[in-house]
């Protein structure tokens, strides 16, 4: 089924390139990145110090279908276990974009 999902990843800014490469391999139609994200997790507080990017996270959001979602989640898992961060998946009930006609709205 072509149902749309949203995958959200927060992880160490240094791994952005790896994740982007990974998404390109999966062949997702697009992604969005917010660069200045701070936070707290198992590795303690990560607060940007303005000088280095050592304690900075990135937020990556991918809207995709369920199949892509599964591939992404699988591929991102080892990065998150090694470098930390979090990845969540949630439901999208409507999607508008150039790439895809709107998927059937699950509400209808």
């Amino acid at each position: 089924m072509n149902h749309a999902c949203k995958v959200e990843i927060v992880t160490d800014a240094i791994k952005l390139d790896s994740i982007v490469k990974l998404l390109d391999e999966v062949g997702v139609s697009g992604y969005s990145v917010i660069k200045d994200v701070i936070g707290k997790g198992t590795r303690g507080i990560r607060g940007d110090d303005g000088l280095t990017e050592l304690f900075k996270n990135n937020y990556i959001m991918i809207v995709c279908n369920e199949k892509e979602m599964n591939t992404i989640v699988e591929a991102v898992c080892p990065i998150i276990h090694k470098f930390g961060g979090i990845c969540i998946v949630s439901d999208v009930i409507q999607r508008i974009g150039r790439t895809q006609s709107n998927p059937p709205n699950p509400r209808d």
């Binding site: 110090d49 303005g50 000088l51 280095t52 470098f83």
Partner: protein
Amino acid sequence: MGIDFQLILSNLSHPPILFFFLGMIASFVKSDLKIPEPLPKLFSLYLLLAIGFHGGVELRKTGISHEVVYALSAALFMAVVVPIYAFFILRIKLDVYNSAAIAATYGSISAVTYITAVTFLQTLGIEPGGYMVAALALMEAPAIVIGIVLARLFAPKTEDNEFSWGEVFKEAFLNGSVLLITGSLLIGVISGEEGWDTLKPFTKDIFKGMLSFFLLDMGLLAAKRIGDLKSAGFFLPPFAIIVPVLNACMAIVIGRLIGLHPANTFMFAILSASASYIAVPAAMRLSLPEANPSLYVPMALAITFPFNITVGIPLYYYLIAKTNKFIPVLLEIP
């Protein structure tokens, strides 16, 4: 000792150092004073560009003499030896990954410590050789590679397939600060006196102002990181002072043995004593994510850096003045 004390005082009443203290105080009293991102980056890029360019112009004037070759060889020697011996000391208490990361931190250098030491010399009317900037550039990267090699050699083997030597070398030798300082040095060499006249108001005149501003931020940062050291135990804080002093002493002896000018020996000592809190941590986080940045960053930034710019600078200067006549010069510079 009298003269040493006065040197410390005169160093401490220098505006850049005072702004460093102001930053620390602001952070301790929990003021909301902050230098928002990316302004600290502006100052650090500026300082690297200015110091590299200045060094290049000076290097052009002196040319590549025997002393230059000696100094650079000694620099390379320290950059290789320090991370190795530091690693084995650290292994007494720490695991392989953290030992390797901290060893790399102390094997590399801090450009701002160097710069602060230069301004200290200048207030005494002494100007170190421009090629010492080349030594600075040369000492930044090797420790990164050595730290990672040590970790690979001694860590338990796992199915770690993400690792790439290409990336390690890129991180080590092409990181922003190495490249900017080396590039600016070359630009200084190429454009020489004429280039110097062009850029002097920018790279020289406002230099100490920019340094003051940057040290204000470093003070804020250093104080903020001190709290992280709670988890560091009783072993690491003394390490962060003793090893730098040890490295400085080694450098002082080596510098004298190979007949460096005392001013250059001083710069060599401060380079050896300094620890990296920008380039090395960035590389370690990528290559040794198992090491804990909340150990190696605050050690370098919140202990070694403040120690060096306040006590270390006059101390190493004093040591050189006192010991110089007791150490023989082995290599008479031709």
